[in-house]
Symmetry: D2
Subunit: 177 residues, 4 copies
């Protein structure tokens, strides 16, 4: 999970680093999708980013929930941050996530791993209707069919368990082949 919103938060970079060594941090994870008029997921949007090791990684949209920020506002903020201000996300009506991903700093405790922190990520599938443009540090935004998105070739480019989370999302919407 990328972390770029530090400056928009209520903590200095040092304070956030300190808190991350002491407390689980609340995150949202978003699987952005295009749907047809019958509610069927047609494509899933994955961000491409250059990793510090020189590889190209595929990523979901995700980020921290800020102090005094509602989950639905965090969802809008992170989708617009990563997919652009015209992406027009349809925020879920219910606060119930399709799953909760527990990212641990120690690998192997759960399928999810984040070396920087213990993050508790509420995960949602979010349709986007509008014009999506990758922003921030992403190289590109690629739309894949459910079959492509759950292929081994794609999943091996996803790290920290995000491939598992993507497959859970596809299972939830009935598109895991």
């Amino acid at each position: 999970m990328s972390e770029t919103e530090t400056s928009a938060g209520w903590l200095t970079r040092e304070e956030l680093r300190d808190a991350r060594e002491r407390l689980p941090i609340v995150y949202v994870s978003v699987v952005p999708v295009r749907v047809d008029e019958r509610g069927v997921v047609t494509t899933i949007g994955l961000l491409l980013r250059a990793s510090s090791e020189g590889t190209i990684d595929r990523e979901l949209v995700s980020g921290r929930v800020l102090y005094h920020e509602r989950i639905r506002d965090a969802l809008i903020r992170h989708v617009e941050k990563d997919l652009g201000p015209l992406s027009m996300p349809r925020i879920p009506l219910s606060p119930q996530p399709f799953t909760v991903a527990e990212y641990f700093p120690t690998p192997g405790v759960t399928p999810f791993h984040d070396p920087r922190q213990h993050a508790v990520a509420l995960a949602y599938v979010v349709p986007v209707n509008g014009d999506c443009q990758p922003r921030q540090d992403a190289l590109d935004l690629v739309w894949l069919t459910p079959a492509e998105a759950s292929s081994d070739a794609v999943l091996q480019d996803m790290h920290g368990g995000q491939g598992t989370l993507l497959r859970q999302a596809l299972a939830h919407v009935g598109c895991l082949s």
Copy 2:
């Protein structure tokens, strides 16, 4: 639950009556809502119908799933039948209903009662974006806030457990006060 689509089905009226005495019938129940851009439910649409006893009842959208019909197609069909062809329902991505209401011909087995049949109703909250007009035999379509919709005055006009189903829907979307 009103039943008006018999002629669109694959059974004669007599055959359907016969099946209803032998088998549970698959239904969908829809709580139609208006939402704001943050996904918050602002109003709930209830149909007004004149009952055979001369009272005015409030009802959700519901109806049978036909042979060889997908649940998402049944949702579209029943919303458009009751709210009009321009209602533009946003069909849920996941087939998982927020609850299953078991309507029994015998009162008291569950909170749900339908004297005509044993119906197993998959229940969904469905946002409608478009222009809604009550069709068929409904007198009117009224939009109520969540607080109004869960008031005793409204619930006492709902029958067969539909008031309970409405409150379950409001609880699911975080709007039950």
Copy 3:
């Protein structure tokens, strides 16, 4: 899905066959599991059956909901029918299934296919605490770890989309690798 409870129902074999050509039939599908004291799924139980083609198939527990039968009673009845009267299923508290599998007589409409009928199957993960013995026409009951159960070798022995349903169940309980 096997269908062996016909004689226990309210229809003759001919009447049931007739209804199946006209109406969607309500089913329950059960993924039986063993869990540890922390609620983690440790193993999944699959039935082995000899198919009419001479192959050995792996199957979930499933069957019809009868007229005037509650879903939770159908779950108990089918688990005890397939896993024995001492299997001690823990029936879910909520009627909300983790998914709904739409079995169509025509292949390819959904991932689920049943040549005999259009079945709408409410799917639940059900822990069993007791002594499980395969009954009826099953050859054996085999307990597999989540990793084994989601392997290609196992999934290719499951038919009609049951392998997809099993993977959806594993995703729901956070055990899909």
Copy 4:
């Protein structure tokens, strides 16, 4: 929500107070229930506590998720802390909560209010099989039927939105009348 586990955490009381002014804190909320063999909720357990204002409040089980603690371990810890070491909770198989309650330090933002902090509480219904004894600072543990638990008399003794959360839980398990 009571907060008594500070000493078991990784922060001093001052550090926790400081973090609470900066970050949302991850909580679990538990509705403890007794169920029958068919999975039907028969009673709900509520803790009685003397408030600082001299009134008797009714409370759900809840508390913080610690750094490097899994949600299911936090559920066990808080149930055993409040209901005793012999309460034998059945931890849910899926990490998916039935809802997420957002407790804000400012009243009115959501139905949930906690003057001390912004808490994001993952809420679960947890059956307890064993012998339950109120521990810690609770005066008593009272078991109520679903109808009693959702009565106005009980709900007015619950604070900070816990009555709303209880009703959401009852709706989820199909017991909200």
